[in-house]
């Protein structure tokens, strides 16, 4: 903030139209450059890790490239996996805008997907597929929204820390799904893996024309664009930014911060619930433990790497979709455990958060007279 008592000359340059544009470009460049540096450094550290184990980093990265992006098949697999990542990342990004660190995406995905599969049981065979899918989607989204909404409400009503409560809700959600899937809703014709009744081929979400990718990717991209518009171009988004930046100032302006917190939490849960719906209706065909695949946790990293910007989430989700998709190939070819991807993700997350300290340190990104404006 420019101090009112400052001489006018110090304030003037930033009001200049030309420097305003250059400020925005340089600031924007900083927000892109520093995460890229962080990615490069974590790639480097991971290479050292692999070298220490006697494995070749070059082979690792070429396998990730081949298994994630190299062929038409692997690229489609990657895009398919990035769909839930976009949605679970949005589930982190929206609360982050209002100043909350919510990590309940995994739980909302699981409970939303389970609810969608459960509501389909009486409908399959009676209602037409499209109606069934719409009801399933609405159920998944609504249940997901309520689930993370609980964490938002507890934050608003009692000041309960939302990070811990949203993660606890994840464990509770998984336990609830297991309770039903191994109990009253278990499909007894399937002895191998406790699951709900399959919804059947005819009721599954189809592929986008000309591809092998289900409609979830299109839904994810549209959702990201819609949320970007909501957050940056509407009164609601403006209120969210103020409440996230300075809750006291927001309260002083008469904004109901509590309501914004609950709504943002519900939007987050809705995004993850939609991811759960697509996992059930387009991939698994039923609800079972395969829903607990870690998309919610990878989504946290994706959102932080994209600096909680819905549009930036799309490419980052595709990148990590590729890393996740190539996991199997890397595991087989290099004889590495399946947790390799987890190590890479954890390392990247650590380096990325550490890189936060670099903002404002490089004079290149600074424009005179704007040092203190953040």
């Amino acid at each position: 903030m420019a101090d009112v008592s400052e001489p006018l000359g110090a304030v003037l340059p930033i009001l200049d139209a030309k420097s305003d544009l250059s400020v925005r470009v340089r600031r924007g460049a900083e927000y892109i450059a520093i995460p890229l540096i962080a990615l490069a450094v974590s790639g480097l550290l991971f290479s050292v890790f692999l070298l220490a184990l006697g494995k070749s980093p070059a082979e690792f990265f070429s396998l990730v490239e081949r298994g994630g992006f190299g062929t038409a098949f692997s690229l489609q697999n990657t895009l398919q996996r990035s769909a839930p990542l976009i949605m679970t990342a949005l589930a982190v990004a929206v609360p982050a805008r209002v100043g909350l660190i919510m990590i309940g995406g995994e739980g909302a995905l699981v409970i939303g997907g389970f609810a969608a599969a459960a509501i389909a049981i009486p409908l399959v065979g009676r209602a037409p597929p499209l109606t069934t899918l719409i009801i399933m989607a609405i159920t998944g989204v609504a249940v997901g929204a309520c689930w993370v909404g609980i964490a938002g409400f507890l934050r608003y009503a009692r000041g309960v820390n939302e990070t811990i409560s949203s993660l606890l809700l994840t464990y509770i959600g998984i336990a609830i799904m297991n309770f039903f899937v191994e109990g009253s809703l278990r499909d007894l014709t399937n002895p191998n893996k406790p699951s709900t009744k399959p919804i059947g081929e005819a009721y599954m979400v189809g592929k986008m024309p000309g591809t092998d990718i289900h409609w979830g990717l299109a839904a994810g991209v549209l959702l990201a664009i819609a949320l970007q518009i909501l957050l940056s171009r509407t009164t609601f988004g403006f209120a969210v930014r103020i409440a996230g930046g300075n809750p006291r100032a927001a309260l002083a302006q008469g904004l109901s911060v509590g309501k914004l917190i609950v709504i943002c939490a519900m939007i987050a849960g809705a995004c993850a619930g939609l991811a759960g719906f697509f996992e059930v209706a387009a991939i698994q065909g039923r609800a079972n433990a395969s829903l607990v695949a870690g998309y919610g946790f990878t989504g946290i990293l994706v959102s932080f790497l994209a600096r909680h910007n819905p549009i930036a989430i799309i490419p980052v989700a595709i990148l990590f979709g590729g890393i996740v998709a190539s996991g199997g190939l890397v595991q087989r070819r290099m004889d590495l455990p399946d947790a390799t991807v987890l190590v890479l993700q954890g390392l990247t997350f650590l380096v990325l958060l550490t890189s936060e300290t670099l903002y404002g340190r490089f004079s290149f990104f600074r424009v005179s007279g704007t040092e203190d404006r953040t």
């Binding site: 507890l154 820390n161 811990i164 464990y171 455990p337 947790a339 954890g346 997350f349």
Partner: protein
């Protein structure tokens, strides 16, 4: 089997509380120390898992479970030191770093732990508090591991040190007001770094209990959220080490209800009882979040309660 089912369940719950509570206790004590210094380490779930893996691996290779406990503490201290070092950089958010440490610790543990899922390592021994009764059921239920005793000892030591020593005062001052601590000539970063490192050590030892005593093996599902629950416990315990012990016992009892009921043939709702500790934690957080006593006890610099 002459006793009434209620007695069996009660015994099983008490036994379970004594058995299951130790990891909660160590993680809660570690987090208590870290939070007293004004910083939050949400990554102790990862520390717990990595500690469990290191303890099991070390015990397997050296044949000495106590070396395993030390290795677990060392691994925990390393993760704690990383957290402490990164968080002292400007603009870095300790809660977000905690999430990253949780993912990182779990990832490393699963990565190196894959080789240790099959082999069987020497475990920690135990002694029974109930041997004098001559009743084998009571004797089995009241089996106690030395780590439980050590944990209670550490809690008592911490409570005493916070109240009566210069070091305790330094930690408390740093946690209540960094500005005041700086004015006293204390290096706030150093105090928090050490508190997080020692806190990590304790959480790692809690992990050793998981893999070397109960459940007593290493696998990827060993800890599902126990580290996280223990972090939530600290708020409930109002940053008092002795109350951390009580809260851990309460949690152990809650976790033991499911298996105890199963042992007398009530299997209905087994999966519900799996969720019970998490629900209990959430309810406890709701109850303690608004309480005046908790708000009085909270270290002033803590970001978790704001």
């Amino acid at each position: 089997m002459s006793q009434a089912p209620a007695v069996i369940v009660l015994l099983a719950v008490i036994g379970g509380a004594l058995r299951v509570s130790t990891p909660f206790m160590f993680v809660a004590l570690g987090e208590c120390l870290t939070e007293k210094s004004g910083r939050v380490n949400l990554g102790l779930e990862g520390t717990l898992v990595l500690g469990a893996m290191c303890a099991y691996a070390t015990s397997f290779h050296t044949g000495s479970p106590w070396l395993g406990v030390l290795a677990a503490g060392g691994a925990g201290a390393t993760l704690g030191a990383m957290h402490g070092y990164i968080c002292k950089l400007p603009r870095v958010n300790d809660i977000a770093i905690g999430i990253a440490m949780m993912l990182f610790g779990t990832g490393i543990a699963f990565f190196f732990g894959k080789a240790y899922i099959q082999p069987s390592a020497p475990r920690l021994g135990s002694f029974s508090l109930g041997a004098w009764t001559g009743n084998s059921q009571i004797a089995t239920a009241l089996q106690i591991n030395p780590l439980l005793v050590i944990g209670v000892g550490v809690a008592a030591l911490m409570a005493w040190a916070f109240a009566n020593t210069r070091w305790g005062l330094i930690v408390r001052t740093t946690g209540d007001s960094a500005a005041a601590a700086r004015a006293m000539g204390i290096s706030v970063d150093l105090v928090r770094f050490l508190a997080t490192t020692i806190g990590g050590f304790l959480a790692g030892v809690g992990g050793a209990f998981l893999s070397l005593y109960y459940p007593g093996s290493w696998n990827q599902g060993l800890s599902s959220g126990q580290g996280l629950m223990a972090v939530a416990l600290v708020i409930f315990a109002r940053w008092n080490p002795l109350r951390c012990v009580l809260a851990a016992l309460l949690f152990g009892a809650a976790g033991a209800i499911g298996p105890a009921l199963q042992s007398v043939g009530i299997t209905q709702g087994y999966y519900f009882f799996n969720a019970a500790p998490y629900i209990l934690t959430l309810l406890i957080m709701v109850a303690s979040a608004g309480s005046k006593q908790a708000m009085r006890a909270v270290p002033g610099e803590l970001s978790i309660t704001k």
